[in-house]
């Protein structure tokens, strides 16, 4: 059995839908971390069957909009002295800025690059978003 030890001070992102852990890992630039980080893929979960987990042995800024976008069912636990002192509840964000990019080649965002890429939530269940500029609809992280 693979064993990952508990952390003293830091953040545990748990219940990530299996397969999305690596995307959270990359978005948080954890590949460049100089502190202990663990990405656990396909861990057993009674509720989910399998899940991904990220343990970060440091306190870092987390963009909760991004986490809510990728998986609103994930849980974020803030750890101090080995104990969970806070649990953050994630929500599907109504508006995201500079997290996803429009793929419509006819969109103005494909030729002008000095302004934020903004998307607005269209359907919470499908997690679909609409580009503020061209109205193209994307589902960046489909519900699995």
């Amino acid at each position: 059995m693979l064993e990952i030890t508990s952390i003293e001070k830091g953040i545990v992102i748990d219940h990530i839908t299996a397969g999305y852990g690596i995307q959270v890992f990359n978005y948080l630039n954890l590949d460049k971390a100089d502190y202990n980080v663990a990405l656990i893929c396909n861990a057993y979960s009674q509720k989910m069957g399998k899940k991904d987990i990220i343990k970060i042995n440091n306190v870092i800024d987390i963009n909760y909009d991004f986490l809510g976008l990728i998986d609103p069912n994930a849980t974020v636990n803030i750890i101090e002295e080995g104990k969970t002192i806070k649990k953050v509840k994630l929500e599907v964000p109504d508006r995201v800025e500079n997290i996803i990019r429009c793929k419509n080649p006819r969109c103005v965002t494909s030729v002008e690059h000095y302004f934020p890429h903004v998307f607005h939530l269209v359907d919470k269940d499908k997690r679909s978003y609409r580009c503020e500029y061209c109205d193209d609809i994307v589902v960046p992280y489909p519900v699995k």
């Binding site: 006819r106 103005v108 302004f115 609409r130 061209c134």
Partner: protein, 307 residues
């Protein structure tokens, strides 16, 4: 209050605000001379990054008939865009010279982007295959003049419904009114985009059909809105050639329509409406173009806060 507002998308204004514009449009048609000096000392900038005949001339004529003046460019090559200037910088510069601007751009969302960088009113005069709200004003004024109001009617849309920005804007607008039904007639490849079908039409519970034949549906329509298959919207010439002649409205197809079914078209037409239809009293597309000038006069007056 419409003063200093921008019109980028048909959902930018409320029904009541659009009512103000249409009412003023009808008043201008009744007595255009009354408004001939209303915009003295005001300047409209027409910023056309993409070719246009009707829309640009319509905007410019509207301003001139209001006593105002016009500056601008009619293609990107004759503006600083050719030197690599951004849309934001061009618009911020133009704002130093003009009181109001109308902008056409081949990229979708360009007017929305521009509106974030300026304070003067900006009018979307067509952005790629996305939206064309002042064509919608033109269409609605025409519908009102022909049939009194837009409610409780069946509208057929035929041709390129995927890239047809005039269709997108008109469907968005009409979706806010009671009793409307839509019949979308197009090849499968040119059907209305998902954001229009799912987020506008279906979400608002509007009855609609997507079909690929004209004749069986002609007698159900109050208005048939024809559109051109636009060569400039295709990345692939072969697709354009394959689809361009799919729907052509001629006398024979008109024989299936009711006596009170009107034909609209945003123009320019290529061959999707045969010229033999032009003399049919139900063909209203040239009158529609004239109404476009009047309703743009009304829009300019409202956004400048003059009326």
């Amino acid at each position: 209050m419409l003063k200093n507002r921008s019109l980028i998308d048909p959902n930018d204004f409320t029904r009541e605000e659009f009512r103000e514009i249409f009412d003023l449009g009808h008043q201008i048609i009744a007595d255009p001379a009354k408004y001939s000096k209303s915009c003295e000392g005001k300047i409209l900038a027409t910023l056309f990054y993409e070719p246009s005949t009707r829309t640009r001339l319509s905007f410019e004529t509207a301003m001139l008939r209001l006593g105002g003046q016009v500056i601008g460019f009619s293609e990107a090559a004759s503006s600083s865009t050719a030197k690599g200037e951004s849309i934001a910088d061009t618009l911020r510069t133009v704002e130093c010279y003009a009181d109001i601007a109308a902008m056409r751009h081949p990229k979708e969302g360009a007017p929305r982007l521009a509106s974030h960088y300026i304070h003067m009113p900006l009018i979307n005069a067509g952005d790629g295959g996305h939206q064309h709200p002042t064509q919608t004003l033109t269409d609605i004024l025409t519908i009102e003049r022909l049939r009194g109001n837009v409610e409780n009617k069946t509208y057929g849309f035929c041709g390129d419904l995927k890239f047809g920005r005039t269709v997108h804007s008109l469907v968005k607008f009409l979706s806010n009114y009671e009793g409307v039904k839509f019949i979308f007639i197009s090849p499968e490849e040119l059907r209305v985009p998902e954001y229009i079908r799912e987020e506008v039409v279906r979400k608002k519970g509007i009855p609609f059909q997507e079909v690929d034949q004209m004749e069986p549906y002609m007698n159900q329509l109050d208005f048939l809105y024809m559109t051109r298959v636009q060569r400039e919207r295709f990345f692939n010439e072969e697709d354009y050639i394959r689809l361009k002649d799919r729907f052509i409205l001629d006398k024979e197809k008109m024989s299936y329509a009711r006596p009170d079914t009107y034909i609209l078209h945003p123009l320019p037409r290529v061959n999707e409406i045969s010229t033999e239809v032009d003399d049919d009293p139900r063909a209203q597309y040239f009158q529609q173009a004239k109404n476009g000038m009047y309703v743009r006069m009304a829009l300019i007056l409202k956004l400048l806060g003059i009326y």
